[in-house]
Amino acid sequence: MKLFSISDKKLDGKCPTGPIEKRWTQHKASIRLVSPANKRRLDVIVVGTGLAGASAAAALAELGYNVKVFCYQDSPRRAHSIAAQGGINAAKNYMNDGDSVFRLFYDTVKGGDYRARESNVYRLAEVSANIIDQCVAQGVPFAREYGGYLDNRSFGGVQVSRTFYAKGQTGQQLLLGAYQALMRQVGRGQAKLYSSHEMLDLVVIDGKARGIIARNLITGELERHGAHAVVLCTGGYGNVFFLSTNAKNCNVTAAWRAHRRGAFFGNPCFTQIHPTCIPVSGDYQSKLTLMSESLRNDGRIWVPKRKDDPRKPTEIPEDERDYYLERRYPAFGNLVPRDVASRAAKERCDAGYGVGPSKMAVYLDFSDAIKRMGRAAVEAKYGNLFEIYQLITDENPYETPMRIYPAVHYTMGGLWVDYNLMSTIPGLYVCGEANFSDHGANRLGASALMQGLADGYFVLPYTIGDYLADDIRAPKIDTRHEAFEEAEKSVLERIEKLLSVRGKTPVDVLHRKLGLTMWDYCGMSRNAEGLEKALKIIDELENEFWKDVAVPGTDKEWNKELEKAGRVADFFELARLMCIDALHREESCGGHFREEYQTEDGEALRRDDLFSYVAAWEYTGHRQSPVLHKEDLIFEYCKPTTRSYK
């Protein structure tokens, strides 16, 4: 069987044309509106309550739409955006260091290795300033200077300070702001909250997204929910690797179910490996913990110059240390983008210079920063991160360097959306990490929070009106429709199938095997041979899963194993598509490093003549060859060059 086929029709992102700084303004002025009286008659479902979902749900409810909002967590405040540490970018130029909307735009396109849409990224940079204003008004306690004004810090991949932050808990504070805005709407009755509910299928009627099937995770009941439009804000799929910095329950199911119903999946192989995480310590490990990239502002990364140096790090003199990032990339040093920093760490460890018990780690050293700024200043800036590190490793980073290693952190790929954030299913919108749109092949630090809130507060509330304007006469969606019947039946059959296996192997065991396969062959570096091997292993593991998975209990109760089993079943299918995408993209760009395509000194070799496009995949059936649809990327303002951080 052919691995995939290629559609001869080009996919259109429907981006506006004209001068880039006017596109969004003109687009907003030209799309249709829905009057307040008509908004009252329209229902919108939002799935997921992270930054994108909570902000979208709050903003839509403020506009007067009837919002139903779903999350698998027991409270919307627990969505994994809560764990984002470092900060949020915005082109405010408060630091007077030459920042501008254009520079943020340019840095993001370049940082994404020229695999993102210019129009989308410019809009993101443009609305970034409004996000900060909105959050401050909500009471988000950003860090401030003594004069009472907002403080900024610098982050990887850029040469200005444009990152707003709240200690190492920026995601938490931004999410609580959005959550509180949403709770205000729930209190008013304008939004209805369905916590502990997991979306298990999308309902499509006459080609339009019209609702979802959700499972109440407490009672196990399946529920039908209809709406005039459905918005997915369900995050990324990093947990396909089992070990990642994602929360344990993060999953691809909502997005994957939408994909199976016709939504194209964009660039699934673009995954981000974050350079600064606490290394794996044993085979019991259930997740990895990130140490914020902001640490690279003051920490210096090094390994011993001598292989297998048995000395403690503090006993190794300065001239016997290899500060390899500063050596290889003098212009950006420890602040190179994430993909570059991760690969450099892997290169040193693979070459035998790794440290710690596993030899799969490098040092992140604060001794110079403590000398320069004093311990108190370091503590004020990074105290909570140091505490987290010590809790996990039982080592004191004020006294000995941290050990870090790259780990799966974020997925740039996701459901394909047009400029309006609508997927290939009319009426299905996708925001935040769940879509593929703004980060190209690599996301810059502090840009995920920016994108999630940009989509939710300032993009979707405008663009969804253009679609709903056609629906003002549509009655309430009738959940007795046969499409709901069919979707609920297929969900139930799948649950019964999972429960009927009654095998011996716990879900975690099979998930861990899948994750290791993906890490080995579709992780920080990939090659054709490995990817083909991975495809075989994935098939075998999936067979084993459906033959021997152990799912105890019933579907009419709180049943975590059943939840996990459904998610892992979808991860197998996604894993296959990721490998196919990685195999087809015969170039290296951003987080996608194909060993066959590198320069003599080991840097990524992009092939713009062949691969300057978005790969959007159409589902054709389980284990059937997907169809590749290409959306050409055109660069009018940021001319693709070899990304150099030297």
């Binding site: 709050a58 403020e62 967590q73 409270s75 919307p76 950003f142 004069g147 009472g148 105890p552």
Partner: protein
């Protein structure tokens, strides 16, 4: 390492519930407490038994999902840590460990160690926000805020809504939770506008949910994984009195 567990098992809200003993062997001291439970659960699943239900998500101490009452303390023996941040190195080889759910009328048990904390969401709905619609905000630097106020607001705002304060309180009071939100917003100019309604509405909702009154013993602060200070309760009381006087 080897530990002996006494775990609260309760099939559903109406079940009486009971302690069940388990022995877990071959533990690495660097394992997290929840990873130790993963090991036990996978063993139970392989043997065809019902695994222990416990809730968790981020496993890095920030989402507030996990919460076990370990040896009589919310989140166990480590100060300023959530259950997921407790590692087995904090227990002795051969130790007996008692694991219970949060116990409070306002947090009914769903299954085993999982409780329903939706009461917290309803308290926030009653007033834990600033009423600003998207798009209304002035420039972020339009209102300077003294660094100290912003820092104190931040300290209060780091509450993760886990419910340990309620579990620690003999009155099952949610005063520290409510105070953290009231104080966070009261310390900022943006939050002052609705300060009066906020404190009254949130406290009313707290009582309606069945949480008790403050005992003034400070158990909540002692067990809070984010070290939310009792000072916030003092501020809550001042805000409450101010609001009452203004009526």
């Amino acid at each position: 390492m080897k530990v002996y567990l006494k775990v609260w098992r309760q099939r559903h809200a109406r079940d009486a519930g009971r302690f069940v003993d388990y022995t877990v062997d071959g533990i690495n001291p660097d394992m997290s407490f929840l990873e130790m439970l993963d090991v036990l659960n996978n063993r139970l699943i392989s043997q065809g038994e019902d695994p222990i239900a416990f809730d968790h998500d981020c496993r890095e101490g920030i989402c507030g999902t996990c919460g076990l009452y370990i040896n009589g303390r919310p989140h166990g023996p480590v100060a300023r840590a959530t259950t997921c941040q407790v590692h087995m190195r904090h227990f002795k080889d051969g130790e007996t460990i008692v694991i219970e759910p949060w116990r409070a009328d306002a947090f009914p048990v769903i299954k085993d160690l999982v409780v329903d904390r939706s009461a917290f969401d309803r308290i926030i709905q009653a007033g834990g926000f600033v009423s600003v619609n998207t798009g209304q905000a002035p420039d972020g630097n339009a209102i300077p805020i003294p660094k100290e106020d912003a820092s104190k607001a931040f300290d209060a705002a780091t509450c993760i809504g886990c419910g340990a304060c309620v579990a620690a309180c003999k009155n099952a009071s949610a005063m520290l939770f409510v105070a953290a939100k009231v104080a966070h917003l009261a310390r900022l100019p943006q939050g002052r506008i609705e300060a009066r309604e906020r404190v009254l509405n949130m406290l009313t909702q707290m009582e309606e949910e069945g949480f008790g009154g403050c005992t003034n013993t400070g158990a909540c602060e002692a067990e809070c994984p984010k070290a939310i200070s009792l000072e916030n309760i003092a501020l809550l009381n001042r805000e409450f009195i101010k609001a009452k006087c203004a009526l």
